[in-house]
């Protein structure tokens, strides 16, 4: 099924339960593999740490967005009401800050949310409709249903096709298959 002119992306093992996957992932790390990724149809607690991801940047990005939104929000209102065209609205003072709170708040939330989502997508390098792992048929059909996969990538310094495949077999995976990448 793999065409010629195809480069190796990595080796993929398939497991029945999240528990198996989790232990396998841990073992893989212990075995010294760095470039590892795991795939589960729903978030599995501890898995990310097991394959060695660091804490997420999303919260910081969100904070930045929130601050930006809020400041620009109040800034706009103050500038409009008190600087660019100051007018007497029903005897209210130019900088009637109590009246500016709602909009400031809304813009804070808006900025934060936009940054959170965009940040999340960016950090996940999405959109990315094509990915080598989809070349594995069983992955493409079952990864989003009830199968759990572990993939050791070829970029890993410790990677060696036969070696790694055997190692994965050793973690009593259901199947172990090569992941090919088109050139």
């Amino acid at each position: 099924m793999t065409e010629h002119r195809a480069r190796l992306h990595g080796v993929m093992a398939e497991f029945d339960t999240p528990e198996q996957l989790l232990s396998a992932a841990r073992k893989t790390r212990e075995a010294g593999y760095k470039r590892v990724d795991a795939y589960t149809p729903f978030p599995v607690e501890g898995l990310a740490e097991a394959i060695g991801t660091r804490r997420s940047w999303v919260p910081l990005i969100t904070l930045a967005g929130g601050l930006g939104g809020g400041l620009s929000g109040f800034g706009l209102q103050y500038w409009v009401a008190a600087i660019t065209y100051p007018v007497n609205i029903g005897g209210r003072s130019l900088n009637s800050w109590p009246a500016f709170i709602p909009v400031t708040f809304e813009l804070t939330v808006l900025g934060a949310s936009l940054f959170a989502v965009v940040g999340m997508l960016a950090l996940n390098k999405l959109p990315q409709p094509y990915h080598p792992v989809f070349n594995v048929d069983r992955f493409a059909t079952a990864a989003s249903t009830d199968r759990f996969f572990l993939c050791i990538e070829a970029r890993d310094p410790k990677f060696n096709l036969a070696e790694t495949a055997r190692f994965l077999q050793g973690l009593n995976a259901q199947h172990v298959s090569e992941v090919k990448d088109e050139e």
């Binding site: 065209y85 007018v87 959109p127 990315q128 409709p129 094509y130 070349n135 594995v136 992955f139």
Partner: protein, 219 residues
């Protein structure tokens, strides 16, 4: 084949998202720019007139004073378009047989008005008053440009509200000595700022708050 997309789609997808965002931004700024462009403000558009009347000739060359024709400019909201009679004052004797003045003579004979095409058009809800501007030292050319060099008159200024406000906020930029009001070649001196301030005080120009009140121009 389980793979739904070709790998190139990755680039296409990301790039098109980027493009969408950029284009959106450009469109927005575009609209704002167009709104200020002569296409919308009608600046520099010369219009066909029933008679190719040249301000350049009458004002620039002959040096006729604005008020000879626009009689009510100092007294009324409207500067006034001269009646045919005013043309005939001279043209009953000067060029009294050239063809291109036939419409004028004809109007005078038949008592049918000459229908000039409007060049400066303010929205109907804007109440501009020529006399007060003239009396407070705002010269013709400040808004109308150097008429004395226009063979056919066109609208020199954008006549947008922000343009009006700009002067109502700091009139000193444009105030001139009263004897200069009808001088088409008046150029703001280097020290216009302080001269303007003195004149503003002298002419009792109202405060910015008053000049930028809505009812100053809108009723």
């Amino acid at each position: 084949m389980a793979q739904v997309f070709h790998r190139s789609v990755n680039f296409i997808a990301r790039f098109s998202l980027l493009v969408a965002v950029v284009l959106g931004g450009l469109a927005l700024t575009g609209v704002l720019l167009v709104a200020r462009s002569p296409y919308i403000t009608n600046q520099r558009v010369t219009r066909e007139q029933p008679i190719q009347f040249s301000h350049k000739h009458h004002v620039g060359d002959d040096g006729i004073d604005c008020r000879y024709c626009h009689t009510s400019v100092e007294t009324s909201a409207y500067a006034g378009i001269p009646p045919t009679k005013t043309c005939m004052n001279c043209h009953s004797v000067l060029f009294n047989n050239v063809d291109y003045l036939e419409p004028v003579r004809n109007s005078f004979k038949t008592d049918e008005s000459i229908e000039w095409v409007k060049v400066h058009r303010l929205a109907d809800f804007v109440y501009f008053n020529h006399s007060i501007h003239i009396n407070k030292g705002i010269g013709c050319s400040s808004c109308h440009g150097s008429i004395n060099q226009m063979p056919l008159v066109f609208q020199a200024s954008p006549l947008t509200m922000e343009w009006c406000l700009d002067c109502h906020r700091n009139p000193e930029k444009n105030i001139r000595p009263k004897d200069q009001v009808f001088n088409m070649d008046w150029k703001a001196p280097a020290n216009q700022e302080e001269i303007g301030k003195q004149l503003a005080a002298e002419y009792k120009i109202r405060t910015t708050v008053e000049l930028t009140s809505c009812s100053t121009c809108h009723r």
